[in-house]
Amino acid sequence: MYGIAAITAKNGWAMALAGALIVMTGLSVLALVISQLHKLAQLIENRRTAPAQPDTPPPAEKTIPSFNIEEIKTRYGLMAQQLGDSFELTRLYHLARDSGFPHVHLSIRSLRETGQLVPLGDGMFSWQK
């Protein structure tokens, strides 16, 4: 059996429609929940700091940089491809900053320390492939 008759016989329409609706609903709910997570995070942060300093305003939210060198390599590797075989670190820095990457200084430093960015002399660097 082929064509529309086959789809109908194998319950295809219901599977496709229900499947699409479920995944759309599921991810929409997840998006809604995570859009509110910062409020919950703020609440937890406030409760944690409240007993210690009841009369002082809560401190600015502390963020701890997530430093995963593999992740940094993936992200910066994509940008390094755009810059060609050799480039100045300032170009990489500006590109990363404009892309909204967090902790650009620290990231570039760790890439240098791990030998991912190879100095070529005269202020030029290349990406270790």
């Binding site: 599977m15 496709a16 499947g19 963020t63 992200r75 940008m79």
Partner: protein, 375 residues
Amino acid sequence: MELLLQFLSNTGYYLVDYRNLIMICVGSVFVYLAISKQYEPLLLLPIGFGVLVGNIPFFKGFGIGIYEPNSVLHYLYFGVTTGVYPSIVFLGLGAMTDFSSLLAMPRLMLLGAAAQMGIYTTLLSALALGFTAPEASSIGIIGGADGPTSIFLTAKLAPHLIGPIAIAAYSYMALIPIIQPPIMRLLTTKEERCIHMPEIRQVSRIERLLFPVAGLILCCFLASASIPLLGPFFFGNLLKESGVVDRLANTARTAIIDTATIFLGFTVGASTQADVFLTPKSIGIFFLGAVAFSIATASGVLFAKIMNLFLKQKINPLLGAAGVSAVPGSAREVHLVGLKADPSNYLLMHAMACNSSGVIGSAVCAGILWSFNVV
């Protein structure tokens, strides 16, 4: 003399048929693309070499082939047929993924959901072409552009199609730079491609810690069949974000995922034995895979345009193409197409948000399709 003749009749030179040679050419092309063009080398190299290994002719009954019980390859392939390797890969993926950009802009998650429409459209197309419902579901999941998810679902629903579906899924992932940009350009105007996205806010550590728990509960309560994929995925992410088990997180995102990827790629490649692989069904699967991937890309882009009708802060519709879960290939393409339209338009971080949403979306779809076919 008789011994020599007997030996010669067992050699590959005697047993080879044209289908083996075709597959050896395919494997060689994969190896070439991986090494020379660097198209998804982490996947194409093990798969390509696996194709070469799987298509060396051998005397059946020696316990050599991947489909022969008690052979070494058969034992290694066990991780594929049981869905063990995909789960382990997801653990490593979770430990690698940074959800900060998604947490900062949750609306981008909808693009990850929209891109899954390619799965259901292809499901219908496969059913129309005469595939059974479990086969069509396994083919449809190629549209998620997620190799491990495709292999996992196919192992559960249509194990006889693992070879062609895995090869199709990974081939199209490698061909992202060729498939996606024309579709993106066709469906968007220059003005739309130039839309700048707002800067992403800083996300707190508590948010990043809450997300894997909330994500696991919400997704797996909805599609419990996706637990084998999303369970390890969110666990890996919690290992990473917790900051207290760096050793475990580091092992998950390096040694563990690399080991699983090696065996997954190699055995999937070796499973493409010509007599099993070169069938009319495989050709249909390759055709449908291309359809799935293209529709997934298009539906993500079109959904972003629909969202723009209702949003004050417009979304760059190119981001919809990153809703497929090919990480980070599709995000890179979105970024590059955006840069071509406007050299100051940096979309990488936002595209990565859609990408990670796509990973979750395709795993949920796999769970849903598995449930549908078991009921």
